[in-house]
């Protein structure tokens, strides 16, 4: 499957699709209602019409995918929702990636929203299109609509079995009105959705043919390697490029800037005819920086010190049922402990890169692995002061992202440099740039208090402490305001646990200059650790089995089913051999619930991870295999986050730089994995992130079960669980 980027406007769309004659063109309006655009005089380059489906007289079908693919499979799962209702075979469809223009609506792959938000609009568009084609056939045959049905891009008549292809019907259909309330299929009628489908885009990822950002080549392009400050926010005083200029291939040495969302930092770019020369030139560049103060503010110990101090005082109350403190003070069986999660780097295997061409005629072309073409278009337009209509974005495959490629600093660097020299410039970061420059998942502390009565967990307080993405990056958090993003699972309202006596959630914003950002599953990965390990601790305090103790405080049937399924699939009742331990955890995030079980066995002074099992309830879903693959990936990334080094700033400098000192899990450490997907008819939940949060606590609880050591601070050294 080839994935070219769509051109602007309907005319261009038709041209891109090689269309000579008009076909049937269907889009969504601003309310996400399907619209027939075939006859529309107005070319839908205006903002409120999204074009999504084009069927041509030769029966070829094109679908727009508005959600970039970073490995999570949107390239297949998004068009599948249309194909299901339209009754077409996905394999025969041409899929085009949208380019950020507003007519495609929101286009960011992020927050696990692609399926959740498009589930109804795209299915409706497919169903309405099918109904028009069926009506056109019925008219042609002069028979009643219910004597016709659609299948495999054809309409059949039930009596004679005669058929017409969609292509043969598009002209008639294009003159019909769009049904406003098309009938959607029931789950049991699905042929594509909810099944295990092969991703047709994977074949080119096994032959080296898939084109990622790093592979983009534009005629006349030059390469840039950029020197950022060793203490991220250092101010450039001066630089000496005499050695750099001696390197063959080096063309320019320019002052550059890194435009982060909330502040801009200084840098120096070396531009060369090939990237290696640019990198060599960068490595011998001598720059002097003003680092004053940064040695103190970019410093983990200092930050976590303040976090733990905050744990000793009251935070800002987020929610509270009953008077927690009074009840906690009066309680006899109680616990008061703190949990810690480290800063983490995203380390997608493909480093940051972007190719930009700011042309002398004032237009811009951009090729980059990016999560949000819509935001990128707006941001680049603002940054360069060039209207969006003059900017064309080519979305190319991301070699992983996990949140990093939604941050547009590296894209703006390419724009900045190309704007200076008006040539196409490709910026490539090294792995060291990626790890040392951030942004990172925030390190956080969860201060937990809880009490039990008569063998039941009845009181619980989660005090969330740390830097806020909303506050630091988006400058949108008042000092006296609790972080609204900690809601979700941590909230009293939506937490699956019901605590009979008292439940409290509070927040303290401990600020830091260490730059933070979204990282797969965002705060859920920090908060899940404290919550699910602490529930385990309280269960032991209550003298209960951790599963049973959880069941006693979960009322909602959907959560109970997930836990029961996990118990069943892991033979929970069976005793494990001596020296082995099992830990469980369950977290609801991004509209889905995942329960995870990890078994470990004692190995010297540490443990070995034997097996991980996950049960995911994501409501209705598109592709069972993609759900499993994402959950498997979340298990590996979740264990990595728990057992491998975090990011540590010391006196202003990030101590990690590449995989040698920032290792991630390798195959020899990867446990056997099993994933089970719950079947129900609930609305779809997120799939890309929900699997991660329960992994670390399941592991922590397993370590406790096997060794009796309660780990509260991540990362844990599983080679020696007593080491700190």
């Amino acid at each position: 499957m080839s994935v070219p980027t769509i051109k602007t406007g309907r005319r261009d769309f038709l041209k891109t699709s090689g269309l000579a004659t008009l076909g049937l063109l269907i889009g969504l309006d601003a309310e996400a209602k399907p619209k027939n655009l075939s006859r529309s005089k107005a070319i839908p380059s205006d903002i409120e019409i999204n074009t999504f489906i084009l069927i041509r007289p030769d029966n070829s079908i094109t679908i727009i995918n508005p959600r970039p693919c970073m490995g999570q499979g949107t390239i297949q799962s998004v068009p599948a929702m249309i194909a299901e209702e339209l009754e077409i075979d996905l394999a025969s469809v041409k899929i085009i990636q949208s380019d950020g223009k507003r007519k495609y609506g929101a286009q960011t792959s992020g927050g696990s929203t692609s399926i959740r938000n498009l589930w109804l609009p795209l299915r409706k568009a497919g169903a309405a299109t099918k109904e028009m084609l069926v009506r056109a056939a019925a008219n042609r045959w002069n028979i009643a609509i219910d004597l016709c049905y659609a299948s495999n891009a054809k309409v059949f008549r039930k009596d004679t079995n005669a058929s017409l292809t969609y292509g043969e019907l598009v002209e008639d259909a294009s003159k019909l009105d769009m049904p406003t309330e098309p009938i959607l299929k029931k789950k049991h009628e699905f042929k594509i959705l909810g099944k295990t489908t092969k991703r047709s885009d994977l074949a080119e990822r096994t032959t080296g043919k898939a084109v990622y950002g790093l592979d983009v080549e534009v005629p006349g392009m030059v390469y840039a390697c950029i020197l950022h400050s060793p203490m991220i926010f250092g101010k450039l005083i001066s630089f000496d490029d005499s050695e750099t200029k001696k390197i063959p291939g080096v063309l320019h040495v320019l002052r550059c800037e890194r435009a982060m969302i909330y502040r801009t930092t200084d840098s120096v770019a070396v531009i060369a005819s090939n990237w290696w020369a640019a990198k060599k030139g960068r490595d011998v560049l001598k720059a002097t920086w003003d680092h004053s103060g940064l040695d103190k503010t970019l410093h983990n110990e200092e930050y976590f010190g303040r976090c733990y101090k905050a744990a000793q005082s009251e935070g800002i109350r987020f929610e509270e049922s009953n008077d927690f403190s009074a009840k906690f003070n009066a309680a006899t069986q109680k616990l008061d402990v703190s949990y810690e999660t480290p800063f983490l780097s995203h380390v997608p295997t493909e480093p940051e890169n972007a190719t930009a061409h700011v042309k002398p005629d004032g237009t811009v072309e951009l090729w980059a692995p990016l999560q949000g073409p819509g935001e990128t278009l707006e941001e680049v337009s603002k940054y360069l002061g060039i209207p969006t209509v003059k900017i064309k974005i080519h979305v190319v495959l991301m070699g992983g992202s996990f949140g990093r490629k939604a941050y547009m600093d590296f894209i703006k660097e390419a724009c900045f440099l190309s704007n200076k020299i008006k040539l196409p410039v490709k910026v490539i970061w090294t792995r060291e740039d990626h790890i040392r420059q951030g942004p990172y998942r925030p390190g956080m502390v969860s201060h937990m208090q809880g009490f039990v009565e008569e063998g039941k967990i009845v009181g619980y307080h989660h005090h969330v402490i740390g830097e806020s993405i909303l506050g630091q990056v988006f400058q949108g958090l008042e000092d006296d305001q609790p972080e609204p993003w900690i809601g979700g699972e941590a909230s009293v309202q939506t937490n699956k646990y019901r605590f009979k006596e008292a439940h409290k959630v509070s927040w303290t914003n401990v600020k830091t200059e260490i730059p933070i950002m979204w990282w797969r599953s965002v705060n859920a990965s920090n908060l899940g650790w404290g919550q699910e390990c602490f529930i385990d601790e309280l269960a032991h305090l209550a003298g209960k089995d951790p599963l049973q103790a959880r069941m006693e405080i979960i009322e909602d049937e959907r959560f109970r089913k997930v836990l029961n399924t996990l118990a069943e699939k892991t033979n929970y009742d069976q005793k494990l051999p001596e020296g082995s331990g099992r830990g469980i955890a369950i977290v609801n995030s991004f509209g889905s619930t995942v329960a995870c079980s990890i078994t470990v066995s004692k190995f010297g002074t540490g443990v070995k991870i034997d097996k991980a099992v996950a049960v995911i309830d994501c409501g209705m879903y598109v592709n069972a295999d993609t759900v499993k693959a994402q959950t498997e990936g979340n298990i590996i990334m979740g264990i990595t986050a728990a057992i491998k080094p975090g990011i540590v700033f010391k006196n202003g400098v990030c101590q990690q730089s590449n995989y040698d000192n920032y290792p991630i899990m390798r195959i020899s450490e990867a446990p056997e994995i099993e994933v089970f997907v719950m079947e129900n008819e609930e609305a779809p939940g997120g799939v890309g992130e929900a699997g991660l949060p329960p992994v670390a606590p399941a592991l922590g609880n397993a370590i406790f079960a096997a060794t009796g050591v309660r780990v509260r601070k991540l990362p844990v050294n599983i080679g020696d669980v007593n080491s700190r």
Binding site: M70, G71, Q72, G73, K198, R199, L202, A203, R205, T206, T207, G208, K209, A210, V211, Y212, L214, D215, E217, P248, G249, N274, W275, W276, A277, K280, V347, P348, T349, E350, P351, L397, M398, G399, G400, S401, F402, I428, T430, R431, A629, Q630, E632, G633, N634, I635, I636, M637, N658, Y659, D660, I664, M665, R666, I667, S668, A670, P671, E672, I673
Partner: protein, 162 residues
């Protein structure tokens, strides 16, 4: 700048480059074969794995001037050119890739493993594949797919013998 001649996928390329340019960039930007990826530059991720006379090497570590005269390189583009290699078929069958960026390197290591050991154990797989990182976390499928590929190959061999 110096002139070099390299043999990649049984084609000879003549090029001019600085002596210290690593092979990964020679392949990608001079020869134009972009299937080989860059991930770390220090031999820790395996994204740049290619075969040098049939053995897997990290192309980020080999400077063009140090390429032996008899060197024949195979890159991902040279695997399964005519019909897909059993490893690629198994990769497709078990839907191994997620983002796919690491998979060129994974496949190069796996192809070399199967050549050396037609029916590898889990331990052999772990040892041979340990230099290839996958941030998307496809390890469990990689292990299964190598076993499947071994089976596909063995079936093929025995049917040829028959």
């Amino acid at each position: 700048m110096a002139s070099y001649k390299i043999n990649v996928n049984q084609k000879v390329y003549n090029l001019k480059a600085d002596p210290d340019v690593p092979l990964v960039w020679i392949l990608r930007d001079y020869v134009g074969l972009k299937g080989t990826k860059f991930g770390c530059g220090i031999a820790t991720c395996g994204a740049c794995t290619v075969h040098l006379n049939g053995k897997p090497v990290r192309s980020c570590q080999l400077r063009i001037s140090a390429v032996p005269a008899n060197a024949e390189f195979t890159t991902i583009e040279g695997i399964g050119e005519k019909s897909l290699h059993a490893i690629q078929r198994a990769w497709n069958e078990l839907q191994v890739p997620q983002c796919g960026y690491c998979q060129s390197g994974q496949i190069m290591s796996a192809v070399a493993l199967l050549k050396k050991s037609p029916d590898p154990s889990d331990e052999e797989i772990d040892a041979a594949m340990n230099g290839n990182l996958c941030r998307c976390g496809t390890y469990d499928r990689i292990r299964k797919a190598i076993h499947l590929a071994a089976k596909l190959e063995n079936n093929l061999q025995s049917s040829i013998k028959k």
